[in-house]
């Protein structure tokens, strides 16, 4: 990833030590020192004798260049950003809706919907891998050499030219002073080498060489991680798909019907798939989600779910969930048993089995189906299974009943004044009713009554699309916890003949009209149609009618008179209902009865928009849970981890172990030992000035105390 840890220095094989030093020499315009174990002056190197370089060398130069590396880092970062901003691997329809068909095709061609598997992105990663490899390849030998060599042959002239250089004299002989200083340097953590030349003595020292190793480790780690990642990636799968050997299955079909070209055998070495297993069931496969479909991956063993347990916090949030699993393998004499939980996977034969999620495993629900068009009829008994669908014949035609989910409890934040934080609304069933034209509405029906102001209601919510909130109707319940009474009342409200009768009665009794009056027929007819509008399409339709037919200034008045008419007629029906039930209404009705009427009217007014031909009351249920397992095989994982360890070690070595060299040149002249101290940190660090100053002071002190 990095090009020149060293600047290119000619005569590599002969001599060099520190590239950054050279760089500094160049930039500081210090006279070029002689740096060589032999005697090649650097002045010769100023015009290097460049051999004619071959194509390979030029290519290597390009691949290992720093500019390429930085460009790649930035390009990969930008591609990664695109991948997070644009949601990946969604169904294609979502993209078409978002971008339109033209841009959808463009983006699809660019691979933007699965960017991390797009050929150009893999190419970028590949280049990064090559660039880093070239770098490691080119620099490792030099670095290792540099870590080991003490450079005892540096010339006096070079030392003097160093940025960090100091000179003083001592009284002892060169040998004794050299010994003392060498020991002192060792105490400072330096490794030391001595060499006696004809007329001087050289002590070369260095420390922190591991810092240089950090460079190799951190860069090689990138290569290791990429290789590990490649082993675990789905590149082979993509290639097989391109060759047409694999076809993604997009249909929702039973496992047994999935064709062979969408099935991967047990020899596939790396995958990541998931499967839901209901309690008491087993599976020897997982599904791998691929773009807008999936593939079936076979396992060499069978996983069975014995039991699934889940615990919840008071808020209803899952606290923990775990599965008692069984592995059945031909190679095993007896099945293996183990409990897995989130963060506690089971590794078996290189396959890792994770507790990923949970869902309904096909709970059985008993539903009482009331016809909302003919509520007087006996309700039907339906047995439904979650994730299955059945047909429902109604006066409005054939409907598909798709049961989606069942929940044994529903916890929501409680009302402020209840003194409790959360309230459990009890079991619920979620289902869709799909009309013959394919349109579907989603319903959620609760099993137990909800008490509102001490009156029991049955709750049912409806929404047309999953993105909407549910709109709820509250069906008032009888004293015995049934809804028969409401259905009887609804039956009366839908009974056209009876309403006409009541309308006539009211026209006669309350308006004093007779059948002969010109307005009599209009009145009764409009009364009847108002009630019909109310019961069939709801209160909103009544308001709408007023908005369409009455001028704005009289609208409110009209609406309240409309409502009065509806209330009057339905009220009279309600009195009839009470009489039928044997209640004495001669002295008026009780407050409780009046409240029931209001509640029933509210529910009635919403039945139109509710839009269902049936009301399905959840009666009994048998809860079956399913565990959501994620099963993976990642042979590259340990390689990636090895790379990670190398990376972490490398980064810390590189930043916190500083390679620095020191030279002490001792020459006896006129009975005194002249000492020349010079140092070169691998990287120019401001701290080193201080360090050198202190070290120099210390060595000066030591040399004088000989």
């Amino acid at each position: 990833m990095c090009a020149h840890e060293y600047l290119e220095v000619p005569f590599k094989e002969k001599s060099l030590f520190d590239a950054t030093f050279l760089a500094r020499v160049a930039s500081n315009k210090i006279r070029s020192p002689l740096i060589s174990r032999g005697s090649t002056p650097l002045s010769q190197t100023e015009k290097p004798l460049r051999r004619q370089r071959g194509l390979g060398a030029i290519l290597l130069e390009f691949l290992g260049s720093m500019n390429l590396a930085i460009t790649l880092l930035v390009a990969i970062a930008i591609a990664a950003i695109i991948g997070t901003v644009l949601q990946q691997n969604e169904p294609y329809n979502n993209y078409i809706m978002k971008f339109g068909p033209y841009w959808f095709e463009v983006f699809k061609a660019l691979g933007l919907f699965d960017i991390y598997a797009a050929p150009w992105f893999l190419l970028l990663l590949g280049f990064l891998l090559i660039s880093t490899s070239v770098c490691v390849y080119r620099n490792t030998p030099t670095i290792i050499k540099d870590m080991r060599h003490f450079r005892l042959g540096v010339k006096e002239k070079s030392l003097r030219a160093f940025h960090h250089a100091d000179e003083w004299q001592a009284t002892g002989s060169a040998e004794t002073v050299a010994d003392t200083l060498g020991k002192r340097l060792q105490q400072h953590g330096y490794k030391v080498r001595h060499k006696q030349y004809d007329n001087y003595r050289m002590v070369a020292a260095m420390r922190g060489g591991m810092g240089r190793l950090g460079y190799i480790l951190s860069h090689a780690s990138i290569v290791v991680i990429c290789i590990g990642g490649l082993l675990d990636g789905n590149l082979p799968l993509k290639l097989a798909e391109m060759r047409g050997e694999i076809k993604i299955e997009t249909r929702d079909v039973p496992v047994s019907k999935i064709p062979a070209e969408s099935t991967l055998g047990v020899d596939n070495s790396s995958f990541r798939g998931s499967v839901n297993i209901p309690e008491g069931s087993r599976a020897d496969f997982v599904f791998m989600a691929m773009r807008d479909g999936y593939l079936l991956q076979k396992l060499p063993f069978t996983v069975a779910l014995e039991d699934f347990r889940i615990e919840h916090y008071p808020s209803g949030m899952p606290k923990s969930f775990e599965s008692d699993l069984l592995i059945i393998d031909e190679e095993l004499e007896e099945p293996l048993r183990k409990t897995i939980a989130v963060n506690h996977p089971w590794i078996y034969k290189g396959y890792a089995i994770y507790q990923a999620s949970f869902s309904d495993g096909g709970s059985i629900v008993q539903l009482q189906a009331w016809s909302l068009d003919n509520p007087k009829a006996e309700p039907l008994q339906i047995e439904g299974v979650v994730n299955e669908s059945s047909r429902l014949t109604t006066p409005r035609g054939e409907y598909g009943l798709e049961i989606i989910d069942f929940k044994p409890f529903n916890v929501f934040p409680a009302a402020e004044d209840s003194g409790k934080k959360f309230k459990n609304y009890g079991p619920s069933v979620v289902f869709k009713l799909r009309a013959a034209n394919g349109e579907a509405r989603e319903y959620v029906n609760y099993q137990v009554p909800l008490m509102v102001e001490e009156r029991p209601f049955l709750l049912s919510g409806m929404r047309a699309t999953p993105s909407e909130e549910y709109r709820f109707i509250h069906i008032p319940m009888d004293a015995d916890g049934e809804i028969n009474r409401f259905m009887r009342f609804l039956g009366m409200a839908l009974d056209e003949a009876r309403i006409i009768e009541v309308a006539k009665e009211q026209a006669e009794n309350e308006l004093g009209l007779t059948a002969d009056d010109a307005t009599y027929k209009d009145f009764t007819q409009s009364m009847v149609s108002l009630v019909r509008l109310f019961t069939r399409q709801g209160i909103d339709a009544v308001v709408e009618l007023a908005e369409q037919s009455v001028p704005a200034e009289k609208r409110n008045e009209a609406i309240s008179s409309y409502i009065k008419v509806v209330q009057g007629i339905l009220g009279s029906l309600y009195v009839d209902l009470l009489s039928e039930e044997g209640v004495d209404v001669s002295a008026g009705i009780s407050e409780q009865q009046a409240l029931y009427f209001d509640d029933a009217l509210n529910a009635l007014s919403l039945l139109g928009p509710y839009g269902s031909p049936m009301f399905l009351r959840l009666q009994e249920y048998e809860h079956v849970e399913a565990t959501g397992l994620q099963i993976t095989r990642a042979p590259g994982q340990n390689i990636v981890y090895l790379g990670c360890v190398m990376l972490m070690a490398g980064v810390f070595f590189m930043f916190y172990l500083h390679h620095r060299r020191l030279w002490v040149r001792l020459e006896e002249r006129e009975g005194r030992t002249h000492i020349l101290l010079a140092a070169a940190p691998h990287r120019e660090r401001s701290d080193f000035d201080k360090e050198f100053e202190q070290l120099g002071g210390d060595l000066r002190h030591s040399s004088n105390s000989v």
Binding site: V74, A77, P318, N343, Q630, V651, K690, Q694
Partner: protein, 388 residues
């Protein structure tokens, strides 16, 4: 720039490291180990083997920090005493938080965080004032306030940890699980990093810049508390119930803190550069030193961020079944990592210095900020528990 005598001493002294330690150093180590043993005895039922390992690893780290950076000791002792006082005052009943005077107004986690917030904001003002008028005394007051704020913030986190267990043994968890908690961690971590540099380079002018970013974090905490009521302790979703959280998140925040610090020094550098003879140039360290501190902070941040990302990948492998899923949070961690990798290459290999890198560090803060907060706000993914 002068280096503290301590640092000078440590570099000059050639006696072996362990022999250089004095009575107080060993006393410190003893105290930390004793604290750990007590904690392990008291709470062993709540910890698994890894967590005990983390406990002793933390102890080792704390001893080492205290040896190398003496103020850490006073800081830790203050935090420990105040936290223990709070635990004692609670006495196993969460309701005491309302009735006990000291808890209610000083050291319940909520109050401690409020104190922290107030002190950081005041410290920011003091640093800016000290920078503007060159008052040495105000600078010292600012440092003292920053230390106090950091103590209170850490106490807030410690006590919150305890409070979560008082809510119920199954609710209890280390308070680094949502945005509210990690913003406190961010403030504290950034301040601690800053305080080490302040001491090492004996310069308080940098505080005016670094504390500004902490004040911004405090602003977020306050908005989050009062507008969103996010300070209530929430139980953990199953995926977060793991010892990994105790190492992954703090390591991440050393990284975030260091990057934020580097960015603010970058701002200081750029402002100083515009007027080479201005006030800032007079008070701040020399451009070379500022540049060097910026590099040190990014190197430290990068190292810890690397560790945090690796730990995150390992945790992901254990909880989600794959060490890398290109989840938005993961991807943004990679983007941040690539960004600073490029920065480091430019500096170390291409030899860049000064304003281009300062600019890059400032831009880096926004990249980091997006990875830290933006992902949770704008993108959906597996890290969805940190939503706004």
């Amino acid at each position: 720039m002068s280096v503290s005598s301590e640092a000078m001493h440590s570099e000059l002294d050639t006696t072996p490291f362990l022999k250089r330690l004095g009575v107080f150093d060993w006393l410190w180590a003893l105290m930390v180990v004793a604290g750990c043993i007590v904690a392990q005895r008291l709470y062993s039922s709540l910890m698994d083997g890894y967590e005990v390992g983390i406990l002793y690893g933390t102890a080792g780290g704390l001893i080492w920090l205290g040896w190398g950076w003496k103020p850490m000791r006073g800081f830790s002792i203050a935090v420990a005493l105040l936290s223990l006082a709070a635990i004692g005052l609670y006495g196993g009943e969460l309701a005491r938080g309302e009735s006990s005077f000291f808890l209610k107004f000083l050291i319940s986690s909520q109050s401690a965080v409020m104190w922290m917030s107030a002190l950081y904001v005041m410290a920011t003002a003091a640093y800016i004032f000290a920078l503007a008028v060159g008052s040495n005394f105000t600078g010292k007051v600012a440092s003292a306030m920053t230390w106090s704020a950091t103590v209170m913030g850490t106490v807030g986190l410690m006590v919150r940890w305890r409070e979560s267990y008082l809510m119920g043994a199954d609710v209890g968890h280390i308070p680094v699980s949502n945005l509210y908690e990690v913003f406190i961690l961010f403030s504290v971590m950034t301040a601690l990093l800053y305080l080490t540099y302040e001491r090492r380079y004996n310069n308080r002018a940098m505080g005016a810049f670094v504390l500004t970013v902490i004040s911004a974090a405090v602003g977020f905490i306050l908005w989050y508390t009062f507008d969103r009521e996010a300070h209530h302790i929430q139980p953990l979703v199953p995926a977060l119930q793991s010892y990994w959280m105790k190492i992954h998140v703090p390591a991440n925040f050393v990284g975030y803190g260091a990057f934020a610090l580097a960015a603010m020094l970058g701002v200081a550098y750029l402002l100083m550069e515009r007027r080479p003879n201005g006030l800032l140039a007079k008070r701040l360290p020399s451009p070379e030193i500022l540049d060097d501190i910026m590099y040190k902070a990014i190197a430290l941040g990068f190292a810890f961020f690397t560790v945090a990302t690796v730990l995150g990948a390992m945790w992901a492998a254990e909880a989600w079944g794959g060490y890398w899923s290109w989840d938005p949070k993961e991807t943004w961690a990679l983007i941040v990592w690539l960004n600073y990798a490029a920065w480091l290459h430019l500096r170390l290999t291409k030899g860049w210095r000064g304003s281009p890198l300062a600019w890059w560090a400032v831009v880096g803060l926004f990249v980091t900020l997006f990875a830290f907060v933006g992902v949770n706000m704008f993108l959906s993914g597996l890290h969805s528990y940190g939503t706004l």
